[in-house]
Symmetry: D2
């Protein structure tokens, strides 16, 4: 399956400001790219690519005063298979986890693991460990938290989601990540493209999506407490401890969002590489 | 100047549990060590040393049920000079910061940078940038927050410190780190040994201390919002985004602290390598 | 000046539920009413009027399963004068305050006075006490908090407003009330009708408004940290410690809001008593 | 049974400050008093008694600069019976509650009812309503929250107790009150004397105690989520929405506590009225 992915994001900068963008396909998917994955800017400015400490491809630049447009459109091969499911995947005892996985067990800005120890154990201590326990966390959240775009706010934490029971996709995942960590299951936040492939087309404009990964057996597995069923066509962009680590763009100074269009769609195998008309909206 | 540093920490584990300890001298000080810096355990158990993603020396192990004693006593050379002061150190524009410094500008569990943007600018926006601004943050906190051991609690954040105005050393530094980051100055939490050298001896038992580092000009500089004057004889153990990243010990299961003694003292240049009697209390 | 005021509020109750409504003109304005101020229900159900401990007229009832419509339309005389301003009004020392005013100095759900002691003193301790200090609180909030309907949420406290700097009218007043109390100035939350009289007509649908009252000299005075200039035609409905005490409706069970229309408009002196057509939307 | 109750509380005031004290026996127990219940001050200053809006006896005064001593010692008759238990007490539907009880269903500073709706229903929705449900709340808290004096802090809310699982008696009751209200059961915070009568004598110094009352059937009943068994010899001083409403003393200005002794003890029926020697410590 071939997917066209891309974005057209425009900011107005009242003054020059540094910006960091995580607007590339994750290195783990580089081999699947069928075209260049470059961040283009209008006007053309100097950009500085690097890989952050979580392994994500980043671009940083000094945005000049005025309007800045960030665009990209590329093609990526996808297996067309849904997220893998492995009900027998074992939980790894903490002492046997790889060193670099340990950091996904502790606190982060939106994941107050220290405040969920008792709650997590009370809710899920009776569920068999491993895949079924992570799935139980997802089921619990999916059935109790109500989705709504107007419930988004930048300071919302897992505890806020647990008490308010409303949120956007990032909120569902923050609560799931926090509960998993409180159960000593490594979990990290993930963000990327997720088109409406194999599901009814959503009436709302496309946005980037958030899901999470849990470490079981010997690898990271995709879970999604919001949708809570295996999906086709996720394209990972970045993983981190929570949304703070993997904000699509972080501006160190004022930046007013003026335009935001995301494209994620299946295209014919012989689709041309150039951006499609939809991006010009 | 020669310092003896060490600890005797004892836990009772009601059941076997994994533990991670940051109980070594930081690699940046390895060359100053005059004796081995090994974590000894009683009973002797297998331990697994590694370096975490922040560059800290860590040791992990599976603690058996029962009492576990962690000890160390080593010697380290110290210049005897107080923390360097460099009033002309410039603030580095975000776009010019090294890639790996950027992560010290964003949110972490105890440092809610996103909630301090307006507050930080109102309090310190009028202070000249660079060293003087970081110093102004330290002065402000030092004069307004009251120290008290009974004000410690594991879930206390920078915002709690800002409103309650009481805390222990970690709380002072969390608030300072958060305000610096909100001002676009990279700041990280530091922990280590800090003896009463060149200052009156404290009547309370020795503990590990927390301070913080701010990135100015071309390097990290030591600041300490609690003591707020240059000190002699700090021995760095670990740095991270906040106390969550550099907890002295993190236990994944129940662990009751039964004994806790820290030694940090100046010794004669010809002091023997073996642990001193004080450690046997 | 004659004002027509009223509402048409409709709820769908999935099951029978008790409800308390504060949908009457405040007793302090009863003499100004030119028509009955009755809460009508469709279907007609038994309602029980009473006065709560803050002196507000309340109505309680058991809403049946299904749609319930609450309407009212009445006429009230208004002086047409803007909110009184009295720059020389003195602050009353706490020891001289009337007994029943003391409760407006302490904490309430959305007003964490205990967390604002230091902050309030730092920001306003240098302003002369009395009217000018309350006005300084309003000026500060008015210039630093940005209004936006999408920033409303039921759990938002004064501290949230202080850090997030965005909110709806209730949020502006909660922060003002909290800062006043922290300065030992009694303050209470007020809610009622506020039409666009003497000001440009707002393009958004009419809603009830929130303001606050501060006790100075020998009485309560109206302040409004959101609009921050004297307004014509406020019709007080209720006062309390914060929005929890004076929610327009409180439902003890599920209630889905289906329709919400408020009318506040100047009418000719000979306007008929019956509801105007606008209410039928 | 005859009880001697009293206190010796001393504050140092760096400057004159207004103070409100709730240091009297509650009016509901006035008939049981066997001696005067007067707040004495040293030096002798003017005091102003009144009854607050919750029905509690209060005293207010302007404390002069310097040391102020508040003392009292009186005798009160007590039935000697433990707190009444009435397992069949019904829950009253909200629509049938007395008007003045409704206010004990809503939010207050330390009782964020709005954040506990879902949690309370999930934990206790399956327990039969009425006495058994309130008792289930007490059992849950009693078995999951650990008591410790060092866990006290003035800003701690029910949500903090729910996540931290440690606290002092006020914390246990705040969580219980909040859960009851979220279940539509009126609950209020209570404070008073509670001696070690019929139980082993506590080694810690006597303090005032907190418990709570829930409204069932046709009256308020005493519950205590900390001790969680019927006690003998409670002497009620005040009730309110939470600890903010019934602080033993509230100072509007600096006040340093210098001495704090409470007496609650059973005495012979012919005990003299004058204060006992213990008060002179």
């Amino acid at each position: 399956m071939l997917l066209r992915i891309g974005y057209d994001i425009q900011f107005e900068f009242p003054a020059s400001a540094a910006m960091v963008a995580l607007l590339h396909v994750h290195p783990s998917r580089s081999a699947d790219l069928r075209a260049a994955d470059d961040l283009r800017t209008e006007p053309t400015i100097a950009t500085d690519p690097y890989v952050d400490s979580f392994g994500n491809r980043c671009t940083r630049f000094l945005a000049p005063k005025g309007l800045l447009r960030l665009t990209n459109s590329t093609l990526i091969y996808d297996s067309g298979l849904p997220d893998p499911v492995s009900p027998n995947a074992r939980e790894v005892p903490v002492q046997d986890l790889p060193h670099d996985v340990l950091k996904y067990l502790i606190n982060s800005r939106y994941c107050e693991v220290d405040r969920f120890s008792a709650i997590a154990l009370e809710l899920f201590g009776g569920v068999p460990p491993g895949w079924s326990r992570v799935q139980a966390v997802c089921d619990w959240i999916h059935s109790r938290v109500v989705f709504g775009y107007h419930h988004a706010r930048p300071t919302k934490t897992a505890l806020d989601v647990f008490t308010e029971r409303v949120g956007v996709c990032r909120d569902f995942q923050h609560l799931a990540v926090t509960l998993c960590r409180a159960l000593n299951i490594p979990a990290r936040y993930a963000t990327g493209y997720l088109g409406d492939i194999g599901v009814p087309v959503s009436p709302t404009p496309m946005d980037f999506s958030a899901w999470f990964e849990a470490y079981l057996e010997d690898r990271w597995w995709t879970f999604d407490a919001r949708h809570n069923h295996p999906r086709i066509g996720r394209v990972l962009m970045a993983t981190g401890r929570d949304a703070s680590d993997v904000a699509i763009t972080t501006s160190f100074g004022m930046a007013d969002l003026r335009h935001f269009t995301i494209v994620t769609e299946q295209v014919p195998e012989d689709a041309p590489v150039s951006p499609d008309a939809n991006m010009r909206r």
